[in-house]
Amino acid sequence: MVLVKRLVLDILKPHQPDALEFSHGLAEVGSNYHVSLTVLEVDEKTESVQVVIEADSIDFNAIQAAITNMSGSLHSIDVVEVHSTSETESC
């Protein structure tokens, strides 16, 4: 079984929800999610942010749904870190 441990995402989002609320929204997707957000560029109505998510097992579909719900647009997945585990280890 392969578990996603770390993702670095490039996201375009509106100013609202703000960086804090956006990070909260992503961290609430699962338990023990560690989210780090860096604002890269600010335009009149939008901002580009880099989001680093770390967890024991990241649910990417749920992350993508949370981004869409908060009116963000996922531009690219810049870094992925996955770990494979044996079936007995994952149970």
């Binding site: 375009l12 509106p14 609202q16 929800p17 609320e21 335009d43 009149e44 109505k45 939008t46 869409t68 719900n69 908060m70 009116s71 647009s73």
Partner: protein, 194 residues
């Protein structure tokens, strides 16, 4: 039932807290002054039946409520749709499944309810003594004077609310709105006497 946190979130992302507060005060003030004017008009006229007064005030209160709901809904819906469309252009993506789209649907409803309910509830509070009097409850002063007193207190409270929002002295702000109420009473008196 819409969770309160979700409502707060939608208001925050659309930055419409201020608009809602403004509508509450503006239309609440309208409701209180309209009731005050109607009751003063009855006071300076030939003695009237309380039921006639209640029906006249209730009619005006309902009209203010319906007007508040419909006008705010139509204007806010147009504003929110425009804001969503501008955001979609900036994001170069369809936001129909997003919180902003949900806000574009829900925020006009919330603002319309505040805009309509503020004058309606304030008006009902003002005409309450008239209604209580018709049910046989004995009040310690004339129901008309009690209704006028409630109107004046509510107008003062709206001023206090404004003062607390703007961070200026609540007493000064309350006295400002109170002076408007007293000026209204004076103008009605002058017109009725003339």
């Amino acid at each position: 039932m819409y969770p309160l946190n979700q409502i707060r979130f939608l208001l925050r992302i659309t930055r419409t807290h201020g608009i809602m507060r403004r509508y509450f005060v503006v239309n609440g003030f309208d409701g209180a002054l309209t009731m005050l004017g109607l009751i003063m008009g009855f006071l300076f006229s030939e003695p009237s039946n309380l039921t006639v007064m209640i029906n006249a005030c209730l009619g005006a209160a309902i009209a203010l409520g319906v007007s508040g709901v419909s006008s705010a809904y139509v204007s806010e819906q147009a504003e929110r749709r425009r804001a969503l469309s501008e955001l979609e252009d900036a994001m170069v993506s369809d936001l129909s499944d997003s919180a902003h789209a949900e806000a574009a649907r829900m925020v006009p409803v919330l603002i319309a309810l505040v805009n309509g309910l503020a004058p309606l509830v304030i008006s009902l509070l003002i005409i309450m003594p008239l209604w209580l009097s018709t049910t046989g409850i004995i009040l310690f002063i004339s129901p008309i004077y009690l209704a006028i007193a409630i109107a004046i207190v509510l107008i003062f409270m709206l001023g206090v609310f404004l003062g607390r929002i703007s961070g200026v002295s609540w007493l000064r702000s309350g006295l400002q709105t109170l002076s408007i109420a007293l000026l209204t009473i004076l103008l009605i008196y002058l017109f009725e006497v003339a």
